[in-house]
Symmetry: C2
Subunit: 134 residues, 2 copies
DNA sequence: TACTAAAGGATAATAATTATCTTTTAAGAG
DNA sequence: CTCTTAAAAGATAATTATTATCCTTTAGTA
């Protein structure tokens, strides 16, 4: 993914800090603000927490990234992608994506409610395979 | 629903404040902390915000109520009930429940991920029927 | 290379939540 | 029906999370 281009398309300046944040999200997956701050500090030791927040908000507004609100946990952020489902292991806190087609669910809900649906936030909680074995 | 009994079962004292909070949640549906505080103040003018928070947390820990985390909105609380789906209208902010069987979705996710799933948090966002007409 | 609006950095302010302490009260024992 | 006590209420301080402000720096463009 070319983040420089993506930022420019949204009339956001391409700064090293922004590229760093986006790259971190891509590589490290689902991170909360605190985790992001620790990691980004390694690259930009003088980066301000305010800068991180401002960038997160700017990128959210432009749909470059998505906030995932998770029951009993802090919000995590990820590069925006096709709608998918999130899984949380309640034992080890592993947090992963799983790609499942949710069209039939959305259709059924749409039918029943007469809502025109465009967005989904789905988090399923349980126990991952490893933790089941313990 | 007999809330007195429910509270006792969880070894929580039955206080007028608690009964008031639960009754409000039952009658008014999905409320955030601020909305709850305004409403409960009408019944208990001297109630403290701390009391509200402490009760929300105690009831959450005992699964009497559920917190619903909603993209771009404050958390709302509802009486715990069977798993269901939440709908948010992005225009008028209407927030409703819709009961849809999610077993097949959960089964599919479980199959693919080998997670043993017990809990779900599903919020779909779109435009309600009324707002579509505008 | 120079200009300017946007972004960065430092820090203050605000908002949300939790902790602490004292007083009150629900619940059970006698 | 008292008495006792642990839990809960209420008031407020402390903490945490987030946003706003202000000045400096820099990316983008002429």
């Amino acid at each position: 993914m070319n983040y420089e281009l993506l930022l420019r398309e949204h009339k956001l300046k391409v700064t090293p800090q922004r590229l760093g944040i986006l790259t971190l999200m891509q590589n490290a997956g689902h991170l909360d603000v605190e985790e992001l701050f620790v990691l980004i500090k390694k690259q930009f030791s003088s980066i301000s927490l305010a800068t991180l927040y401002k960038n997160i908000n700017a990128m959210l507004e432009n749909s470059l990234i998505t906030e995932i609100k998770i029951p009993r946990h802090k919000s995590k952020y990820e590069i925006a992608k096709e709608p998918h489902i999130h899984l949380l292991c309640q034992k080890c806190n592993e947090f992963i994506d799983v790609s499942v087609n949710i069209d039939s669910l959305v259709d059924e809900v749409s039918m029943k409610s007469h809502y025109q649906l465009m967005d989904s936030s789905i988090v399923l909680c349980g126990v991952c395979e490893k933790c089941q074995a313990l």
